[in-house]
Amino acid sequence: MTLLDLRDIRFAYPGHPPVLDGASLRLAPGQRLSLTGPNGSGKSTLLRIIMGLQAPDSGTITAFGTSRSKEADFHELRRRVGLVFQDPDDQLFCPTVAEDIAFGPLNLGRSRDEALAIVDKVLDDLDLMHLKGRITHKLSGGEKRLVTLAAVLAMEPEALLLDEPTNALDTKNEARLLEILCALPQAILLVSHAPSFRAALAPEALELRDGRLVPV
């Protein structure tokens, strides 16, 4: 089964030439795929379209065998696909790390105790237990990145979309992140400008060129 299947996606911001002009993409379970392309070529837009945060002008999105077009169609998709945002400050909005990680599971209908158990498990898995009670806005850049990943993993997604995950990370934290990601079972769609990171995590790559995705 294909996790994600995008066909012929077209999208333009009002008053601008199209950024996506017939982009197609398939992601299979466990597959690791990189997206490359210059700044402003529409990589982040594509991720937002997959998550249903932006509607394409035309084209189809099929996820887990179901076609998705309306807002309600994307509710289930968002439970099964996790997007890690480029700027951790956009994603970590809760006062404390524990509350932020619990936010997703609570939305999935878990009870408070179940959510807290998930928080403990995810933090333990990523070896981040020491951050549990910390205030989110006081975390370092590297810590913020790892906590955003934990917050997404807490929802047990089947696929991960990563938007420039190594932005503003030092080499040590980058290595740590790579180690964690490589050990995950999930399919990964990676947007990154760092060639070494792409080569290590997801060597198979598509380039976004003139609004289309072409194999590299």
Partner: protein
């Protein structure tokens, strides 16, 4: 508020450092908020000079018990005095009563002087107690405690979002200011300055709105269903009860002293 903050100081992140909060830091945050409100209300109700002096002394004692650095804290308090100074100076001249002195045909009265002193004592005692009791809390803990004190949930969430993003936006502001500075911008009283500052403010607001759109997107991606939960709990210890009772007794004592 700008005046209370040096350029290098962080906005809220240095405010609450629980390690150094001493006796007061160990108290239940809810109790600290309630006590600050009780003390504030009682102090505003006081009218006699001895009672007001006692109230200020109480606030100073709280400061001593808090292990807050006394000098910067008192400086912040004094900063507020700077702002009300002109009002206090005017009062002796505008309240009728037995004269003290006449300057340029204006007569200062004892009654007006007392009123000015009263206001100064009240304002300083209340704000100092507030800073010591509540200002030593981690801002996030303040939000949690207000939630447990049954503040409307929407208001608490609004407070939490504000606290969360002040530092992020301030860094954004400092980056924009830095970018202006390195291109030779030096503020003065001129059209160019006001236009540049206006653009700066406009840019900050546009970026803030765009950021809030991304935040909402991130919330939706994690299945946001219109519910936000706050999880921190507090428990009153025996010590909290004792301190609470002592503070209440002290406030009653102030009221009693006032009637003497």
């Amino acid at each position: 508020m700008a005046h209370a903050l040096g350029h290098r100081e962080a906005t809220l992140s240095e405010a609450g450092d629980s390690d150094r909060a001493g006796i007061i830091g160990a108290l239940d945050p809810r109790l600290r908020i309630v006590m600050a409100c009780l003390f504030g209300t009682v102090t505003v109700a006081l009218t006699s000079l001895p009672a007001l002096c006692a109230a200020l002394a109480t606030a100073l004692l709280l400061l001593a018990a808090s292990r807050l650095p006394p000098v910067p804290t008192l400086k912040r308090m004094a900063m507020m005095d700077g702002f009300i100074l002109f009002m206090l100076v005017l009062l002796p001249f505008s309240v009728p009563g037995p004269p003290i002195v006449t300057i340029w045909g204006l007569t200062a009265s004892w009654a007006g002087l007392w009123q000015a002193v009263e206001i100064a004592l009240t304002a300083n005692a209340v704000i100092l107690a507030l800073m010591v009791l509540v200002g030593t809390l981690e801002p996030v803990t303040l939000g949690h405690a207000l939630h447990r004190l049954r503040c409307p949930e929407t208001l608490v969430h609004l407070l939490m979002f504000t606290i969360r993003y002040i530092e992020v936006l301030r860094e954004e502001y400092l980056r924009l200011r830095g970018a202006m500075k390195v291109r030779g911008f030096r503020p003065g009283s001129n059209w160019h300055t006001y236009r540049s500052f206006g653009y700066l403010v406009g840019m900050m607001l546009v970026r803030a709105i765009e950021r809030s759109e991304r935040i909402l997107g991130a919330m939706k991606c994690r299945g946001f269903s219109g519910r936000l939960l706050l999880m921190q709990d507090f428990a009153l210890t025996r010590r909290d009860r004792v301190v609470g009772a002592a503070m209440t007794a002290l406030c009653l004592g102030l009221l009693l002293l006032d009637t003497l």
